[in-house]
Amino acid sequence: MTETAQAAPRATAQPVPTPGRGPALIGLAAATIATADTWAVTATVFEAAAGGWRWVLGGAALAGAAAVLLVYRPALDAWRSSGRCAASADPVERRALAARARESAWTASGLAFAVLCALALLVFVLANDAAVQRTFLQSELIATSALDIVRAFGTNLFIAVVAQALVLVWGLVLALARLAPGRVGRPIRALAIVYIDVIRAVPAIIVIYLIGFGLPIAEVPILSGLSQTWYAILALTIVYGAYVAEVFRSGIESVHPSQVSASRSLGFSHLATMRHVVVPQATKRVIPPLLNDFISLQKDTALVNVIGTIDAFNQAKIFSSNHFNLSSVTVVAALFILITIPQARLVDRLIARDKARGA
C-alpha cells in the first residue's frame, strides 16, 4: 500500500461507530411509557368493573399489565449492547454491537407503540362511562340475539356457497366467450365484453334490488316464482360471474402460447385445447384471486337485506331496532370476521406457496 493510499481513506470505507446510549435510552423510555400507561388503565378497569366482572376483567387487565413488562426485554438488550459496544476495541465487533443495540431499541419502540394503540382503543371503548361499550358491546343483547343471528347467518352461508358454485361455471363460460377466436368469435366476444363491462359498472346492491323486486313484478315464467333467497343467489351469480370471468381470463392468458401451439399441433381443436391444456393450468394459477372474489361475495350476501331476505344482518337489524342498541349488529360483524379471516390467511399461504414454486 502506498503512502498516499493510506493518507486518503476510500470514500466508501465502512464507518466505525462511535458508541452511544441514545437508541437504548429511547427504547427504555418507550417501554416505560407503555408500562406506565398500561398500569394506569388497569387501575381504571379494576375500579370501574363491578361485582363478579371485577375479578374477571381486573384479572385480564393485570395479566396484560404484566405482559407489557416484556417490552423491557429488547430495551434492556439495547442498553447492554451499547455498553458492550463502548467497551469493545475491535471495530467489526463494535459495528455489530451498535447495529444490535439500534435494532433492539427499535423493536422496543415498535412494541411500545403497538401497546399504546391497543390502550387507546380500550380507553375509547371505556370513555364517557363506557358509552361505546354499551352501544356496541352490550352483553345482554349479544346474549339474547346471538342464537337467532347465527341461525340467520346460515342463510348467508347458503347463498354464498350456492352462488360461488354457480359463479365458477358462469365465470368460466364468460371468460371462454370473451376469448372466442377469430372472425366467427367476434360477436360472442363483443357480447361477453358488454356483459362484463355493464355488470361491473353497476353496484351489486342495485342488481340485487332490481332482480329481487323486478322479477316478481315482471312475471317472467319460472324466474318470477323463485324465493327471495334464490333471487339473491341469482343476483350475486350475475354480478360475481363478471368479476370471476376476468379472473379466469387473466389466468387463461397467462398460460404460455407455446402450450396452445403444442396442443393444436397434435390435432386438438380450440375448445379441446382449452379444456385439456389451458384451463387446467389456468385454474391452478387463479385460485388466490378467485378466493378473494369469493370472500367479497360472502360479504355481499349481507346486501340481500334490501330485498327483505332474512339473513343475519336483517335479523340483527330487527333486534337492534327493538332494543335501540347496535350490539346485535356487532354479532354479525364478528361472524363475518370469523369466516373471512381464515380464508384471507389461506389465500396468503397459497400465494406464498406459488411464489416459492416460482409459478
Binding site: 402450450q259 399441433s265 397434435l266 390435432g267 386438438f268 379441446a272 385439456h276 391444456v277 393450468q281
Partner: protein, 247 residues
C-alpha cells in the same frame, strides 16, 4: 407431385414479410434440413406447414391433396403432420404417460389400455419407460424433449417437423435427442428440420436448404452446401458458424 409440396408460400406479420415465396418439395422418406440465421424464417415456415400460422399466398400440398387455404380441416391435417418445438412444450400439469396418451385417446380413438401400451413401447424405445409417472418438471431438458418427440410420434404422423429441437439443451444432452432423430431417419420417417447442428445436418440430411431473410437462397445435397456453396451469403453464414465452433 412430391409428398409434401410447398409453392410460392408468402407470409407477413404486419408490414414485415417474413417468407417471400418459398418453393420446396419433400419426397417420402426424405430428410430435409433448414439452416439459416436466427430470424430468417425457419420457425415460421414450419409453423405455416403445420397450419399454426395462416399463409398469405401460395399453396401447400400433402400426398396429392391441397392442405392450405380456407375450409381445410386443420385438425385433420395436423394428425398427419407432427411438430416438435424448441422449448419441448410438454403439458406441465400431466405426467409423462398422460402427455403421450392424451391425443391418442381423445383424437385417435384408442382405449386407455391401447394408448398406454403404445406409449410405453415408444417410451422404451427412447429409454424413458421408467419415467412414465414423472411430471415434466422432474425431467432434464433432454428427457423432456425425448418425451415430446414420443408424444408426437404416438399420433403416427406421416411427416415430422422439428424446430431446433436441441437448441435449448445443454451440450451434453444434445446427443441423446439427436440419436432418436437419427433412428427415425434410418426408419424412413419423412422429416423437415430446422437446426443449428451442422454436423448432424451433414450426416442425416438428403437435402440442405439455406434460408436467408425469408427466401430459400440455396439448396442441395449436404456435401455441396457445406463444402462448395454457390452463394456468397451461404458462405458467410457457414463462416460464422465455423467461427462459433459449431461445424
Amino acid at each position: 407431385m412430391a409428398f409434401l409440396e410447398i409453392s410460392g408460400l408468402r407470409k407477413s406479420y404486419g408490414d414485415h414479410e417474413v417468407l417471400r415465396g418459398i418453393d420446396l418439395a419433400v419426397e417420402r422418406h426424405q430428410v430435409i434440413c433448414l439452416i439459416g440465421a436466427s430470424g430468417s424464417g425457419k420457425s415460421t415456415l414450419l409453423r405455416c406447414i403445420n397450419a399454426l400460422e395462416t399463409i398469405d399466398a401460395g399453396q401447400i400440398g400433402l400426398d396429392g391433396e391441397v392442405v392450405s387455404g380456407a375450409g381445410v380441416d386443420v385438425n385433420l391435417l395436423r394428425r398427419d403432420v407432427g411438430m416438435v418445438f424448441q422449448s419441448y412444450n410438454l403439458f406441465p400439469h400431466m405426467n409423462v404417460i398422460d402427455n403421450v396418451t392424451l391425443a391418442p385417446i381423445r383424437l385417435g380413438g384408442l382405449s386407455r389400455e391401447q394408448a398406454t401400451a403404445k406409449a410405453t413401447a415408444l417410451l422404451e424405445r427412447v429409454g424413458l419407460a421408467d419415467k412414465a409417472k414423472a411430471f415434466p418438471d422432474r425431467l432434464s431438458g433432454g428427457q423432456q424433449q425425448r418425451v415430446a418427440i414420443v408424444r408426437t410420434l404416438a399420433m403416427e404422423p406421416r411427416v415430422l417437423l422439428l424446430d431446433e429441437i436441441t437448441a435449448a439443451l445443454d451440450p451434453e444432452l444434445v446427443a441423446e435427442v439427436l440419436g432418436i432423430v437419427r433412428q427415425l431417419a434410418a426408419e424412413g420417417m419423412t422429416m423437415l428440420l430446422a437446426t443449428h447442428e451442422m454436423g448432424f445436418a451433414r450426416e442425416v440430411a438428403d437435402t440442405v436448404c439455406f434460408l436467408h431473410q425469408g427466401s430459400l437462397l440455396e439448396m442441395g445435397p449436404p456435401e455441396q452446401i457445406f463444402t462448395e456453396p454457390a452463394e456468397e451469403r451461404t458462405r458467410m453464414f457457414l463462416k460464422s458458424i465455423i467461427a462459433a465452433g459449431r461445424l
